[in-house]
Symmetry: C2
Amino acid sequence: MENLLVIQSGGPTAVINSSLAGVIRCCFERKREIGKVYGGRNGIEGVENERIVSLDLFENEENLRLLKQTPSSYLGSCRMRLPDFTEDTKPYEKLLSVLEKYKIGCLCCIGGNDSMDTVNKLNTYVSAVGKALKVVGIPKTVDNDLALTDHSPGYGSAAKFVANSMRQLALDTDVYEMPSAVIVEAMGRNAGWLTAASALANNRDFSAADIICLPETVFDSERFLEKVQAVARVKKTVMIAVSEGIKNKNGEYFKTENQDLTKRNDKFGHAALGGAGKAVETLVAQSLGIKTRCIELSTLQRCFSVQASLCDVEEAFLAGYKGAEFAIDGKSGIMAGFKRTSDNPYNVEIAAFPVNQVANFEKKLPMDMITDDGFGVTEKFIDYASPLIAGEPELIYKNGRLSFAPFI
Amino acid sequence: MENLLVIQSGGPTAVINSSLAGVIRCCFERKREIGKVYGGRNGIEGVENERIVSLDLFENEENLRLLKQTPSSYLGSCRMRLPDFTEDTKPYEKLLSVLEKYKIGCLCCIGGNDSMDTVNKLNTYVSAVGKALKVVGIPKTVDNDLALTDHSPGYGSAAKFVANSMRQLALDTDVYEMPSAVIVEAMGRNAGWLTAASALANNRDFSAADIICLPETVFDSERFLEKVQAVARVKKTVMIAVSEGIKNKNGEYFKTENQDLTKRNDKFGHAALGGAGKAVETLVAQSLGIKTRCIELSTLQRCFSVQASLCDVEEAFLAGYKGAEFAIDGKSGIMAGFKRTSDNPYNVEIAAFPVNQVANFEKKLPMDMITDDGFGVTEKFIDYASPLIAGEPELIYKNGRLSFAPFI
């Protein structure tokens, strides 16, 4: 009987391990069709080096439950990119030899854009060389920028962290009588989904995100300062959410003078950002002379399982489960994603999307979710994102410490 | 019948409003002895300006429950410092005229060191001029630096946020195979209690705080880098917790070159810090050449009610309740604090401490809670702090958003 191998790659999220739990559960439930479920450490990089582990410890229900609430990639991650196989087949041959050794018939890859590129290339290669391996992608990204799927697991929990952080910070900031501005920097190089989630902090009688600066719009300092002044005239505390990837009209990242972004590119050519919030803080402080504070939500926003959304945890599990099921049922070159059938009541269906239409695209916030002045989001976004942050999972703590799955 | 006035001052915490709820509840329960319960907005500054509000809306149990989980100072805060009354009686006379107008017989002040200074001065003044006003302090500080009391409400929740953030960040950081160091900056100008709480993230098979840099010890760059190297030899990811207030052997704050601290003093003469983490990050990156990341836990650590400790929420309520009771029973010039009677099982008793022995002292981490090399904490600290982060309150959310008490 053939086995299934699951790997994780890209940046961690609060629920990527819930997807892993879903894959594992599916394999255990379909033992007549699939043999063992293996995990590959550090993505395809680890597979190449035969760093394959058994996941049998998760037959234990308690361990599986702990896995669902363990943030970050349990199996580790990598940022290795496969070459085009028409140019270099070596990494492919190496991978396939390891997969054959472990009798892997199904490979599930939980990850974001770059991981879907890997799924796509690997699937294209095995089709071309006539191998029977099934390769399936399971979406994961706090950036929510994967194409075709309505949304991606990981986003809901990160969005919830952003929204509730804004709410709590707005109260924290408002205690003194002095006018002030708080700049909160959220993740999202090119897609503003996570920064937009700050708007979920607002309700009828409480504004916790007054101005939202997105990478989809041009960051015009003058218009921005006018907006800050307009808010400051009616509100003591100006709460500003800023995407790490805001850009000026020339398409350059908005930054303070002494930042050199060129040195900090990762293997995929993405700039490692940081500092947009500080740059905006400096701008506000220098121009308006009010008290300012910049808060970077940092990697906490992607790994804070304490603030996970139940919807997200359950959907991540489902995507993992269904992804494994697709592979076991013979599908390949697809990603298990979501089709939304209704906003209210919220309802989604799992669908198999062709991964070659997902890989290397970035789904940005559409213009009809951004207000005309570019500094806010529309009701359409609120309706879209609200269900994704709903519900709180029952978490297991031990003496105040969040419990994690046992390490292997 | 006389009334009670409650005010809040100093920096916000996750549970300062639980103390407010305790004061309010006590007043409602002792209606035969106390008339109305009023809140003063923005501490004594608001009282001077007669910004007094009724707190009757909290007779509603649901509102009171929401108040307990609302972070930050519901009534607002101030940083006003009373002068010595032998030099200037005007602010005292102004305050007393307002208090007399509202027939205030009891004043409860929820706050930290500076607030206890206010309680002390006001109590000394009313004694000197023969007024019957009872003035009682209720402790609140994430810094845990108030004297006499075993610990202060606010600390347990902030400590829990620090510990669980370290745990989640350690997992987040560990996903790649590349060696790296993460520097996490926690609050605490002169007292390392909150930075020390990072050690609560560790357990037998998981080290999430490898090196802890406290303001109580001298920060010696060379010895620190040796320690980092020693950890890096045995562990891929070096997790470092740094207090915002670490100092070199000359007692100067450790900082990067371009920071000018002198411009950022508050009204009490405290330096507004920030940047110790970044300075340590630069040091590590330049000296060891490994990947580094600095994460400032920022004001999130003091206002993140989502991660509150049940022990802290309940004790904050109790301190508020008992503080009001002390005042109603005729005590004045005291602070309602805790005496620990046992670590295991954890047990405390409420006690009335003389506020003149609390005001303007800073309780630092004692040397027997710090390891000999200065880069860690002892079991004594773990035994002390563990019970304070225990338990999770049942929080009320609405569609994924943490609910707050209605605004007045």
